[in-house]
């Protein structure tokens, strides 16, 4: 992965407040990135598969997935991604407000690459996104496309 090429991130999140927060947090980071947003599970799958309006969009390097979304929730999206031969190599980070043990266990059972809880204050949120950015996009070696 070239340093200059921006990283493609897909954020699957229905709450515009959270979308904005994530965008802000990523802006504060040092890494060049393109943040794409899908507002529900169906859109997320369409984006990943390059269907419909998303025929021209790039394949994301990383998916940030909220669990509670309309139409198709994050749990189903995660299962579909990890069952697909084509998509399962894309790292999926579950980013949610749920601290429920069951959600954590289910997510890892469906091969989520990480599970993060959204902190309640903005500074904490920036920290989490920053750590995430640093680890997944700079430290970790991801599979080539």
């Amino acid at each position: 992965m070239s340093e200059r090429e921006p990283v493609e991130i897909l954020l699957a999140e229905d709450n515009p407040g959270d979308v904005k927060l994530t965008r802000k947090a990523l802006e504060k980071g040092r890494l060049a990135n393109n943040l794409h947003v899908a507002n529900d599970g169906v859109e997320t799958m369409q984006f990943l598969r390059g269907e419909g309006d998303y025929a021209e969009t790039p394949r994301p390097d990383l998916v940030l997935l909220d669990l509670n979304m309309p139409r198709k929730d994050g749990r189903e999206v995660l299962a579909e991604i990890k069952e697909s031969d084509d998509l399962r190599r894309i790292p999926v980070i579950v980013l949610t407000s749920s601290e429920a043990e069951e959600d954590v266990i289910k997510s890892y059972e469906h091969h989520a690459n990480a599970y993060l809880t959204k902190p309640v204050d903005f500074d904490g949120f920036i920290d989490v996104v920053g750590t995430l950015e640093k680890f997944w996009l700079q430290v970790v070696k991801l599979p080539p496309e």
Binding site: N15, E101, K118, P119, F122
Partner: protein
Amino acid sequence: MPPNRRTSLVVLSGIGAILAGVLLFDVYEDWQVQGTTLTSTVVENALPFVLLLGTFYLIRRLYRGAYDDAFVGTVTMWTAAGALTIGGLVAWVVGIQVLQNEIKPVIIVLQTAVVGTAAGLLVGQRTASVQQEQERTRREKERFRALFENDPSGIASLRRHGDRLVVESANPSFASLFGSTEGKALEAALPQLAAEAVAAFREHTTERERFTTETTLRTEDGTKHFVIELVPFGAEEVAEPQSYVIFQDVTEIRETKAELERTVEQLERSNEQLQQFAYVASHDLQEPLRMVSSYVDLLASEYEDELDDEADEYIEFAVDGAQRMQAMIDDLLQYSRVHTQGEDFAETDPTAVLERVLRDLELLIEEQSATVTHGDLPAVVADENQLGQLFQNLLSNAIEHAGDADDPPTVHVDGEERTDTVVFSVTDDGPGIPEDQQERMFELFEQSSRDDEGTGIGLAVCRRIVDRHEGDIWIESAAGEGTTFHIALPTRAPQQSTSSGRIE
């Protein structure tokens, strides 16, 4: 009657009989040998007669009260009668021989007395036993009758007569339930009774087997539910076997039971809803709260230069409010998890649990320069994590509130084994809690005067944990004399609480 008392009775009766024999022989001798007239003989011997009768009267008096009246009466009477009649008769018959053969009269007197006493005693005792038996039977009958007549259950005795069961007799309860039934065939007496039940009664009466059934029947007092018990009785191998049927009215018990079941069900449902509510509230409340606090933060950081001091203060209040709400929600979640996320109960070593908790509290203990000691802590059956939570909440509570700058807190944990329970105590040397505040402290979000930092949920969680363990928690404290929290936990496993509706 004990044997020694019986013997003394016999001896006394025997003495009486000997006296009777002597007397009779004397009378006979006077009359027959010396030739006095009968009247003068009787008159001459009247005093000894009266004495003799007096002796028997005394014997009766002596034994009455202590023993069965009828028995004593019968024995003395028959012994006396035997002695008098048989003894007299023998004395009379043998007396003639005495006069002819010159046998010593004293021997004859003794002989007759002994024979008379023995005979009297034999007859007397036998009669007494028969009387006693009759009396016993009569009393038993009376007892049974009283039971039968007064039993609140409807009881009827049945006799198999050919192919039918006939109601021989019924008690008043039975009559008040089903009207006049005596002498009728069972199916005619109780037409509302199912044919299968009648058949079963007949079958079991014949087979001499007990039989129980439940049924709802129309009665004179309305429809009632009965537990019916059939109890065969009487000798085996008879042409017409007999049995009792006992109709126990369980309508009220059943209604109460149904009511109770309904209440329990409602309670379980509302409890489940409550747990779900607490969980959902704490979960779904997080989302908007996060928005509030995050955006207030963002506002503060992005418009830092454009806002004045007052605006900063507003923001501070908003952030503080959001943070406190967050803390409360976390507590609520913890509170709701006591039941939904409880582990199974197991034999637990409280010392190990306490030591773990003390390690977790190390920072706080150091901060407050607190001294924490503990005695022997007997094992309990508990959810280990929750026992730890109990210790942690009570200890941090004590450490935070017991000390001040000059006087660092001292806390002692102890355990005492009682019947089926262990009572743990956490004692501090703090300012104490006034009695009127003690009970309130266990309520949800109740902030005591000594609590200015927490959200007031620690003790509510403690109570909920203790409740789950079917234990007890209470405060012993007086103003200025420190505080002791007691926790009683069972040493045997309580009924596992159902964690139905487990949502996490």
